[in-house]
Amino acid sequence: MSVDAPTSQTADMGPRLEAARPQDNRGLSIPLVGMLLFIASEMMFFGGLFAAYFNARASTPGEWGPPPGAEELSPVPLAAILTVILIASSFTMQFGVWAIRRGDQGKLRMWVGVTLLLGILFLSGQLYDYSQLGFGIGDGIFGTTFYTLTGFHGAHVFGGAVGMTILFARASSGQFSARNHVAVEAISMYWHFVDVVWVALFSIIYFLK
């Protein structure tokens, strides 16, 4: 069978993989494979950070939490609001992906813009939270692991915001279409991944006492 011949399997892939495939129909496009591999490496990276957090917690005698003198961490209101913002941004990103699969460039531009704003809002809220916590990265093992985990996640959100800015600029120039939008699919995958990591982080840091 020729590699170019469409099969019933490829015909059933739907618009998502249709757009993700190069035009010679020889499988998933290289940028998407690259993004999947990158996300796999990032999962291992965050897995290491979570392992360090649990290890530090297990080997620390006494109370686990902020150093004496600092307030207890509370999931409400700010952390919960930030979580809602980030989860909402995943939905708006997906609305953008669905829009460009239909070939709607205007909606793509709008949803990517909204996602970018929500990402910036999340980062601003996180920086404000840092400034109000009352302990720093050097204040004990909890402070170190807390800032390392949330800080690296924040850096990844910033990386996603950079990608989103590029998407927004390119979408404004009309560079995406229903058949040519692999960058939108790739960045959306990354953004969903960052969102999922935050949900895990939020649950572990604030609820797993």
Binding site: P22, Q23, I120, L123, S124, L127, Y128, Y130, S131, G136, I137, G138, F158, A161, V162, T165, I166, F168, A169, R170, S172, S173, G174, Q175, S177, R179, N180
Partner: protein, 116 residues
């Protein structure tokens, strides 16, 4: 506003600056053709670049600037500022290189070079 809050506010302003810079550079890539973009023949790889190793070096300087600081300061600015400049230069350079590649691909300058 205490020193810590000022430091985080500056970090936020720096992030916004980088995002603005990325937007301006990306917007200058120009409008793509209306029709479907044909990928170049062969395997297209970016040219050799010093930017990938530059970014982690910048990252090391940034974190070192935060970790190895005098007691009374938010960060060691002699390490942090060069790290920040390298980081910004790396991002700008990378986006510009990506735009150049995009333009070259559109012009088809690599079509006759399979394996490039």
């Amino acid at each position: 506003m205490n020193d810590t809050a000022v430091g985080f506010a500056l970090l936020g302003i720096g992030m916004l600056f980088v995002l603005g810079l990325v937007f301006v550079v990306s917007s200058r890539a120009g409008r793509a053709p209306r029709g479907p973009v044909t990928p170049p023949a062969g395997v297209h790889l970016p040219p050799p670049s010093l930017l990938p190793p530059l970014m982690p070096v910048a990252g090391i300087l940034l974190f070192a600037g935060l970790a190895f600081r005098p007691e009374d300061q938010f960060a060691n600015f002699f390490i942090l500022v060069p790290g920040l400049l390298l980081f910004v230069a790396g991002i700008v350079g990378w986006v510009r290189a990506a735009n150049r590649e995009w333009t070259d691909t559109e012009r088809g300058s690599h079509h006759d070079a399979p394996g490039h």
